[in-house]
């Protein structure tokens, strides 16, 4: 068998003082096959976003420190390859969507320019850059894309901004899309639209997707497999349906119970009992 698409082994990332470090990611390992959709679920601070950013060394060092392990993407260790090689992976092979679209887009450049930057960098062969940008915007469901090219991010709604982020991420046809809490900052109705869009794009382009979320509700009909992270470690993993049906770890159970279900009356929101978990 050839090298796996993405292979993470014993990854350790720390912040803070070396003598009393904050272990954001504490020796995690997982594999991701091409075409697969993996969801990483956990509460804020569980290390899931740090893991996502670490895939292309996007964490600033300092304050972060990569203390152990390796991240092999198509056989190359992302933690050790030189910076200029890495830049060819970023955006081209592995693209990102972030949590807060309004602050993730540069306020002083038009959305057209911000997409253009990515295309010009990774696909120099494209002649009709403008047409390509229009195409990318169209794909994410932005109406009259040609007229929106000159718009600045703040002129768009949050949902539209996130669509632009997705268009930008997909403009270079990446092999892996890392969606880091793509819907957390959006209204519930918009969340649904964005998730539907991602699902549709995933199917049409046969992309591998790594979805980072704290919301089990999003995972059910989106991901093939689930990883549950708690305090920097993976506490449970497995096929989505199985984990949802029969959660093993008390933390997973608690997380699943946090999702309010339709047609079910709840007196108050579940609070996670950490003492019971540890």
């Amino acid at each position: 068998m050839s090298a796996p698409f993405l292979h993470v082994e014993n990854l350790g990332i720390q912040f803070g003082p070396t003598d009393n470090p904050l272990k954001a990611v504490d020796g995690i390992s997982f594999d991701l096959a091409a075409g697969e959709t993996l969801a990483v679920v956990g509460e804020s601070g569980s290390g899931k976003s740090v893991t996502a950013l670490a895939l292309t060394r996007l964490l600033a060092t300092p304050p972060a420190r990569y203390v152990s392990g390796k991240i092999e993407f198509e056989g190359r260790n992302m933690l050790t390859i030189p910076e200029d090689e890495l830049r060819k992976v970023r955006g081209k092979q592995i693209a990102y969507i972030f949590q807060e679209p309004s602050s993730s887009l540069n306020p002083v450049f038009t959305i057209g320019f911000q997409i253009q930057e990515a295309i010009e960098l990774h696909r120099p062969e494209v002649r009709d850059v403008r047409g390509e940008i229009v195409c990318a915007l169209e794909r994410v469901g932005i109406r009259q894309p040609a007229e929106r090219l000159g718009d600045y991010p703040h002129q768009l709604s949050g949902g539209m901004q996130q669509r632009v982020m997705i268009a930008m991420a997909l403009a270079c046809q990446p092999k892996l899309l890392v969606a880091d809490e793509p819907t957390t900052a959006l209204d519930v109705t918009i969340q649904k639209q964005i998730m539907d869009l991602l699902k549709e794009l995933k199917q049409t382009s046969n992309m591998t997707v790594l979805l980072i979320t704290h919301n089990f509700g999003l995972v059910a009909d989106f991901a093939d497999r689930v990883l549950v992270m708690f305090r920097g470690r993976i506490v449970e993993s497995g096929p989505t349906a199985e984990v949802l049906r029969n959660p093993q770890h008390p933390y997973t159970r608690a997380l699943i119970e946090c999702v309010p279900k339709l047609g079910q009356k709840q007196r108050r929101l579940k609070v996670i009992d950490y003492a019971g978990i540890e």
Binding site: L58, D84, R90, F98, S104, N106, P107, V108, E117, M168
Partner: protein, 329 residues
């Protein structure tokens, strides 16, 4: 944006009113002018005034009229750029200012441009190396520069590099050497540049220090923004991320900083032009103050206030033009 600019222009009216009223009150209350009415005083720099000049001054400030009428008259005169006649040489104040304003504007202007040009790279460098040695050293040096009074700096520079017992690299006083007219065009220009170095340096360093401190803070704020992560995730090189994505954002707040520096530069040019004997507006101001030449003093004061007001207006409009977030609100 048009409504914003219109609203901004409307807000100028009360300020203009206030500026003219304040200067008018100063004139009315000035003991020298009050003495004129009584027929005495009016000794412009020890020179007795003729009855004719006394009448002209009374007319200029409407000293014999009720305050309100006099004020309206005074505003009308300012609007027509009629600032009266100097008590010293009886020339029109407008003309006197006119022949000196160019030098002051060019010195203060070059100081402002220079301080921006040097300050921004310094501030950005310090921000990028936050907390490291170079940041600490830069911060300390800028703090030191910021705290040196410009007159002390001017004197010490003259002492150590222009004449004095030490180096004699640069000319000490004036805008040109005595024999400058014999030097030919290029020689003359070079001579002028040599004479301008020290005054410009003395006006520049304090503005430089304060602008680069602002630049550093502004850059630090931008460096923590999410969109830089997006730019890096796209695969852009660190150079492009910093110089294009970060810098563009960091520069926007710096546009308005020059309005803070302008009054300092105007005040500074009084000191610097006096020390270096430069025939600019600042020197004229001090001479007029020493000679109690009230029309000239008031003329320069009104002008300085109007220039500052104009700079506020320009800064506010520039801000809207440069920041796309403001454009469509």
């Amino acid at each position: 944006m048009t409504t914003y600019i219109l609203r901004r222009l409307l807000l100028i009216i009360p300020t203009l009113f206030g500026i003219t009223l304040l200067t008018f009150l100063l004139v009315r209350l000035a003991p020298g002018n009050a003495a004129l009415l009584k027929g005495g005083g009016g000794e412009g720099g020890g020179r007795a005034m003729t009855a004719e000049q006394r009448l002209a001054t009374i007319k200029l400030y409407g000293l014999d009229k009720p305050p309100l009428v006099a004020y309206v008259d005074w505003v009308g005169r300012i609007a027509r750029l009629d600032l009266g006649e100097s008590w010293i040489d009886h020339r029109s104040v407008t003309a006197k200012i006119g022949e000196r304003i160019g030098l002051t504007a060019s010195i203060a202007g070059s100081a402002l441009v220079l301080s921006y040009l040097i300050a921004i790279p310094l501030g950005v460098t310090a921000a990028l190396r936050r907390g490291q040695g170079i940041d600490r050293v830069l911060t300390f040096i800028l703090f030191l520069l910021y705290s040196i009074p410009n007159f002390a700096a001017a004197l010490l520079l003259i002492l150590f590099v222009a004449g004095g017992d030490y180096l004699n690299l640069l000319p000490m006083y004036g805008i040109n050497s005595i024999n400058a007219s014999e030097m030919g065009t290029w020689g003359w220009i070079w001579d002028r540049i040599l004479h301008m170095i020290l005054p410009v340096v003395c006006l520049t360093y304090a503005s430089l220090a304060s602008i680069s401190r602002y630049a550093r803070v502004s850059m630090l704020e931008v460096l923590g923004q999410d969109f830089l992560r997006t730019a890096r995730a796209k695969g852009l090189s660190e150079r492009v991320v910093i110089l294009r994505h970060a810098l563009r954002n960091a520069l926007i707040p710096l546009i308005t900083i020059f309005t803070l520096e302008l009054p300092v530069l105007i005040g500074g040019s009084v000191i610097i032009e006096t020390i270096f004997s430069l025939p600019g507006m600042g020197q004229l101001m001090l001479q007029s103050l020493e000679n109690r030449d009230n029309p000239t003093i008031m003329g320069i004061t009104v002008l300085a206030a109007l220039v500052t007001l104009g700079s506020y207006l320009i800064a506010d409009i520039l801000y809207v033009v440069v920041d796309p977030r403001m454009k469509y609100e």
